[in-house]
Amino acid sequence: MNVNSTVTESLQSAAATLLSEGKVGVVIGYGRDAGASISHPMFIRKPEDAERLVFDDCCFGNLAVYLPRDKVRSMGKIGIVVKGCDLRAINVLLREHVVKRDDLVLIGVPCTGQGDPLLHKCSVCEQHNPEGCDMVVGDPVEQPAIDATQRYKDAASLDDKSLEERWAFWSGQLSKCIRCYACRNVCPLCYCKRCITEKTIPQWIDTSAHLRGNVAWNVARAFHLTGRCVGCGECERACPMDIPLGAINQKMAQLMDEWYGFHSGLSPDEKAPFTTFKVDDPETGIL
């Protein structure tokens, strides 16, 4: 663990001020209990508890996942600690009118990347310094130039394979799925009150942990996130069966990039590719 003490101290004082002045009802941040291997999400509701907040290089979770939840909203105005990548998810939530900007106080933290070795998403991150927050704690960090060819590298390595090899790979991976829906529950953008996989009339997706339903589920999940997924990588991190879900999301993000020049979550005002169209969109392979 590598605590960023300047960020942590100003974060703690900012959270304590917000809570004591009554500007927010809760601050969602990261904390670390003794013996924990990662910094886990922490909800702070009293100013004196603010000292439990930390910021280090193991703050993996995307806290935006809590914002659409009724129980969290009932706590009042929400102060939330956001890294640049989390801010992208919040931008999508704002764009989809799931949360209101006025209900949030965004506490931005400059972040040089999480994990040791660095997570893949951090090595291609262009949002080291979150922009558009209500306050930023800590000093801005240097934004290194990223290698854009690396952005979709997991998807690209599978794209090189033949159709049969890809099916052999994915049928093997997807048959591991135990349908725990951790990928869905941890995703900040999977906020439907009732998910398609729980609908029974008609039942679109077979619910047993069998390849038939697993393929349908993963196609549905990937497709519902197309043009929305911000690549935070939480689904893959949460997956207990280590299915490379990030590669699927990367593939769809790559398509949106190549076809429509679209990167999800860079601004709350953008339009998602599937909510709009152009008359001269690509049209290959239509009979």
Binding site: W170, L211, R212, V219, T226, K278, G285, L287
Partner: protein
């Protein structure tokens, strides 16, 4: 004409593909209707599902069809610019092309999923299209990727 249709009736000893087609109410369904009214024969392997608009077609329709034993799925709508609802087919175009790429990425044969634009005046195009895709899917054979999933023969 009747003789011609008889010649094209299916030989029971030959394997017949199952094709599911989602046709928009306003153009493609009317086009298929016109083909019928014009006595343009086309293979009976195709099972038509009428939907209000090609924009109604969700990728889950396609997956479900494969699960139920379809060898090929066709989605057909109005030509771009002709949508009864102004823009439904433009939205369908974005979604369905992305879905086809997703299928390809998973290794599910994209030749099993066709998209076409057929207008209400194109009965002949419809008839030829169905003949072409039926010949193609006959050459491809049964959709084993999915039939193996159903029987549980795939995976460890």
């Amino acid at each position: 004409m009747i003789q011609k249709a008889k010649n094209e009736t299916t030989d029971p000893s030959e394997w017949q593909p199952r094709i599911v087609a989602f046709l928009c109410n306003w153009c493609s369904y009317a086009g298929a209707d016109l083909a019928g009214m014009s006595r343009l024969a086309y293979p009976a392997a195709i099972k038509i599902v009428r939907v209000p608009c090609s924009g109604r077609v969700d990728p889950m329709f396609v997956i479900k069809s494969f699960e139920q034993g379809a060898d090929l799925v066709l989605v057909s709508g109005c030509h771009p610019g002709d949508c009864h609802y102004t823009s439904g087919n433009y939205h369908a175009r974005r979604k369905l092309l992305a879905f086809r790429e997703l299928m390809t990425f998973f290794g599910i044969d994209p030749r099993r999923f066709k998209i076409s634009w057929v207008s209400a005046a194109e009965g002949a195009k419809w008839s030829n299209l169905v003949k072409e895709i039926t010949d193609e899917v006959k050459a491809l054979g049964p959709f084993e990727t999915y039939s193996e999933i159903l029987t549980g023969e795939t995976g460890p």
